[in-house]
Amino acid sequence: MVDVNLYSKKRRVSRLKNALILLLLVVVLVAGARFFASQAFEYRLRQISRLKGYLFDNTGTYLTGNLRNDIQMIRDKKQLYINMKNTLSRQVRDLRTHVTKKTQEMNVFRTINAFLEDENAIKTILTRVSFADGKGSSFYYLIYDGKDVNFPTPVTTPTLLAYPGVRGNMGFADLYTLQLVDLEVGETLEQRQ
């Protein structure tokens, strides 16, 4: 009987065909995984595009699918809108400052007018009005019928704090009484103290 050696080094050698098949399997596996990954991200991108459709329509942008380019495009557009926002914020702030100042000014004159239309006096004689730095003052006379005089009482509720100062009363033959008033408007109690 011939002695046959079943152990051969050739058993550890894979044929090139098998190696190529294995390589193909690896390539298919990796390509498939890559395909599924890319599909997942493309789906996410489509989802974003759909969810933010109104934004892209209003800003004139659209996603191309190239993430780097899309990011840069969105970043540029965002910067444009941030600049617009800063400009608008400045305009709105200026407008608000202007409106606040104008409102204060109007309230000063509205309050002076309320005091000039005194509810007890039969006539008002205005001598001087001045206004500066959001504060106003007026110097006027109130004419009362008879001898009875009152402290200056505005016909409507003053919008601002006002400090009427009565300088004196003068009677005219028991027919009229003249009251001299110095009014300050627009100054708060804290400022006065």
Partner: protein, 201 residues
């Protein structure tokens, strides 16, 4: 019959499909199973003849699989995920900026629209020396009857584009009458004011 002659006899009984094409030389010393013989008889191509070391192949395949998977799938997914997250962040920030712009635009337009409808600046320009150019107009002086000056003062106060920096209203006499007067008309009221015209609208 000897043992050698028996083996020869068995070998002769084996059936070969194409004995002529067999390149494998019939050995006299050992037995070859017919299935294996068929396999040996198959035509070998280049891919069948060549081979690589199995251990080397396995190591190479593992390395190739890991490296290609890491490069083509893991790194791609990481980059795509990072870019998608960045894109989403940028889109959200763009949305916030867009909404703020919309809101501010609406606020500004409503404020300007509201004030513009109440403005009679053009009419006022014919009465007082102020221009359309934004800025301060100092030393604006007017004089006239009490009713005229009062009307102009009321227009200045109610004009949204103008703010009063400083104002002084007095008469040429020590005893003017405003707003109504029964005194002779030679009493003139003098209005001195510093005005500011806004460029906001």
């Amino acid at each position: 019959m000897s043992k050698d002659s028996e083996r020869d006899f068995e070998l002769e009984d084996l059936e070969f499909q194409t004995p002529e094409s067999v390149s494998f030389r019939e050995p006299d010393e050992f037995f070859v199973h017919k299935d294996y013989r068929n396999r040996l008889n198959k035509r070998l191509t280049f891919l069948d003849k060549k081979g690589v070391n199995s251990r080397l192949l396995i190591i190479l395949m593992i390395l190739l699989t890991l490296s290609s998977f890491a490069f083509l799938v893991v790194m791609y997914s990481y980059n795509a995920f990072k870019n998608t997250s960045t894109l989403l962040t940028e889109v959200n920030e763009l949305e916030n900026a867009f909404l703020e712009v919309q809101l501010l635009t609406r606020v500004r337009n409503e404020a300007i629209g509201s004030m513009s409808t109440r403005s009679y600046f053009n009419e006022l320009q014919t009465l007082i020396p102020v221009g359309t150019k934004p800025g301060n107009y100092k030393g604006v002086t007017l004089s006239g009857t009490s009713r005229d000056i009062l009307d102009i003062l009321e227009m200045i106060i109610n004009e949204p584009r103008i703010t009063i920096e400083k104002l002084e209203l007095r008469s040429n006499l020590g005893f003017p009458i405003l707003p109504e007067s029964n005194l002779p008309s030679n009493i003139m009221i003098e209005l001195k004011t510093d005005l500011s015209v806004t460029g906001s609208f």
